[in-house]
């Protein structure tokens, strides 16, 4: 188990390193020298030189990368070129908003998606199964930003039930909850369909297994067979899918936060990209990648907890 943990940590470090190298590569492929984009067409060469130096862009790339990692290892993700605030502070401010949005979206998507998937299995082959399948697939097919715009139009503009933009007033919890409803629907809706199909597929496979026949042969109530004997097993592959899919939750948060003008990692990173605010871009990517790796590791541990076969394989 310890060797496993060490292996996982080393792999995570390697992944972080490769991701950041790729990010550096992309930054230099994007047309436009950061300093001139940032300062606009009327900047003087002296001003440009000053900004280039401040961003550390006058140094060779290898030195830049080395500095970035050396600082990041000490918890210093650099300074915002514009506001001069530490990048880490900004991330720690924005991240809880995105985390809240993602968690709420995933929670309701999980509840609804698993329920729909199980119902489809219980009523397999019937009209209910087909109708749920149709709804699931259409949920998967609509992009989150399209959903976001229509939700805005219907519930915020026409009906005026819910606020259109922002995250609610600080300290005013009901207003924050109200502001969370539409964005979390936009982020979660695709997941409902996806999870429903996933759970349905793995449940169908498990319901045909011999041990389910055993449970039935001992006269266990069908409800118990479905929840305790089948769902517990069907949930295991779903967990790794959810963990891997968290990346797409973060990226749909970029769109949804932009549409709803919510503060968060998405807004932070898009703003920084437009302003060529590289320390913020790099810092945010590093942070979200690290978070993502953490989630995947947690998911693996959770799977090991739920499935004794995986647990024993790891212990070896």
């Amino acid at each position: 188990m310890l060797t496993y943990a060490i292996k996982r940590a080393a792999l995570a470090a390697l992944i972080l390193f490769v991701v950041m190298l790729a990010m550096y590569g992309m930054v230099f492929l994007v047309p436009g020298d950061p300093a001139s984009v940032a300062l606009g067409p009327r900047a003087t060469p002296a001003l440009k030189a000053m900004l280039t130096e401040r961003m550390g862009l006058d140094q060779p790339v290898a030195v830049q990368i080395w500095r970035f990692f050396a600082n990041a290892a000490q918890g210093d993700l650099g300074i915002d070129v514009w506001s001069k605030r530490p990048v880490l502070d900004q991330i720690l401010e924005a991240f809880p908003q995105t985390l809240l949005l993602g968690t709420v979206a995933l929670s309701w998507a999980l509840t609804l998606g698993i329920t729909v998937g199980v119902l489809a299995v219980v009523y397999r082959g019937t009209f209910i199964d087909r109708a749920l399948g149709l709804v699931s697939v259409s949920f998967i097919s609509v992009p989150s930003f399209v959903v976001a715009i229509y939700l805005l139009l219907i519930f915020a503009v026409w009906l005026q039930w819910l606020p259109a933009i922002g995250a609610g007033k600080a300290g005013d919890i009901p207003s924050q909850i109200k502001a969370l409803i539409l964005p979390s629907i936009a982020v979660g809706i695709g997941w409902v369909g996806y999870l429903a199909r996933m759970v349905r597929a793995s449940m169908l496979e498990i319901m045909a297994a011999n041990h389910i026949r055993t449970a039935r042969a001992f006269g266990l109530p069908e409800r118990r067979v479905v929840t305790r004997y089948a769902l517990r097993l069907a949930i295991v592959p779903t967990i790794s899918v959810i963990a891997v899919g968290l990346g797409s939750i973060l990226s749909s948060a970029v769109f949804v936060e932009t549409v709803f003008s919510r503060p968060g990692i998405g807004t932070l990173i898009t703003g920084a990209v437009f302003k060529r605010n590289y320390p913020v871009v790099m810092g945010t990517v590093l942070f979200t990648t690290a978070f993502y790796l953490l989630v995947i590791t947690c998911a693996d541990l959770l799977i090991a907890k739920l499935d004794p076969r995986v647990r024993d394989a790891l212990a070896r």
């Binding site: 011999n210 041990h211 026949r213 039935r216 001992f218 006269g219 109530p221 097993l233 004794p308 024993d312």
Partner: protein, 323 residues
């Protein structure tokens, strides 16, 4: 003679497949009385597992009972409401399944499952646990307490089959159906499990149905045997009569092919020529005729069930003559 505990009466079961309807059971009948161990033998695809599943009406979804009855203590199980059927399962009629590798849920401990299987008993959890422990030692598990905490994959195949037998005995069922209880095991394990089943039958009051393709298992365990071929019971006999005076040509061929009976080494194992008839389109005459050395023109017509004695009968035009 005592009233039968279980009576399968002219059961017809059809599977709906992509290639059309398949008749898995064609008028199969069987009787089991208390204290009897019944063997059901036949090659793969002869319908013996379908027969076993129909005893607790747990046929696959694609299967349909087209006619016939499965009477337990006189009442037709197939026409009982689903809840009443469920109440019988595991309580009155228990199954021991073929593949011990996959018969238990992989994410629940043996203990949790053995307690779950006693769901109908209105006794405290501790008592259920004690009962599970007692049965595990009854079937020869060396450390019952440890076994209860184990997950299925942590036990060997033979141990899992012992646990499966313990599970089946939990609720003191009156009918025990063992579907190929030794097929997935190696020879040593098979001998141990047969030994265990023999041991159990001594103080068992109900009826045991053993489904197998292994004549050795039949000879070791059973009182009476039903030989199945292509969804039909082709011969019914007491175990001694079956081995010493088989009347159906298929039974004779089966016995001739059993390697356990050879006294000398043979370079070629004898087999029955030909293959099972296509059950999507079952023959109107004797289904064994195309493979039968005794087949004549008359075998193209439906064969009669010829009574040989009170306990033996064969479904064959030629069974009337001397064996």
């Amino acid at each position: 003679m005592t009233e039968p505990l279980l009576e399968i009466d002219a059961l017809n079961v059809t599977y709906h497949t992509d290639q059309g309807k398949l008749s898995a059971l064609r008028g199969a009948s069987l009787i089991a009385r208390a204290g009897e161990v019944i063997g059901i033998v036949g090659e793969s695809g002869c319908g013996k597992s379908t027969l076993a599943a129909s005893v607790i009406n747990l046929l696959p979804q694609a299967a349909e009972v087209t006619s016939g009855a499965v009477r337990y203590k006189g009442a037709d199980i197939l026409t009982l409401p689903p809840e009443a059927q469920r109440a019988l399962r595991g309580q009155d009629i228990a199954m021991i399944f073929q593949d011990p590798m996959t018969a238990f849920n992989p994410v629940l401990t043996i203990g949790a499952q053995l307690i779950d299987f006693q769901h109908a008993a209105q006794i405290p959890r501790a008592e259920k646990l004690a009962r599970a422990r007692a049965l595990l030692s009854r079937v020869g598990m060396p450390d019952p307490d440890l076994t209860l905490r184990r997950y299925p994959h942590q036990l060997s195949g033979g141990m899992r089959q012992r646990v499966a037998i313990a599970a089946a005995l939990l609720m003191n069922p009156t009918i025990l159906v063992a579907d190929e209880p030794t097929t997935a095991l190696d020879v040593t394990m098979e001998a141990q499990i047969i030994h265990l089943l023999r041991d159990l039958r001594r103080d068992y009051q109900g009826a045991i149905l053993v489904i197998t393709h292994h004549l050795g298992v039949v000879a070791e365990l059973c009182d009476r045997v039903y030989v199945m071929y292509a969804g039909e019971v082709v011969e019914e006999a007491r175990v001694d009569d079956l081995f010493h005076a088989p009347r159906h040509p298929y039974t004779r061929a089966l016995i001739a092919c059993d390697p356990g009976h050879f006294e000398q080494a043979t370079p070629i194992l004898p087999t029955i020529q030909g293959r099972l008839p296509d059950l999507r389109n079952p023959p109107t005459g004797c289904s064994f005729a195309p493979r039968c050395p005794l087949a004549e023109a008359i075998c193209a017509t439906p064969p009669p069930r010829v009574p040989i004695s009170l306990t033996q009968s064969a479904l064959c035009h030629k069974a009337g003559g001397q064996p």
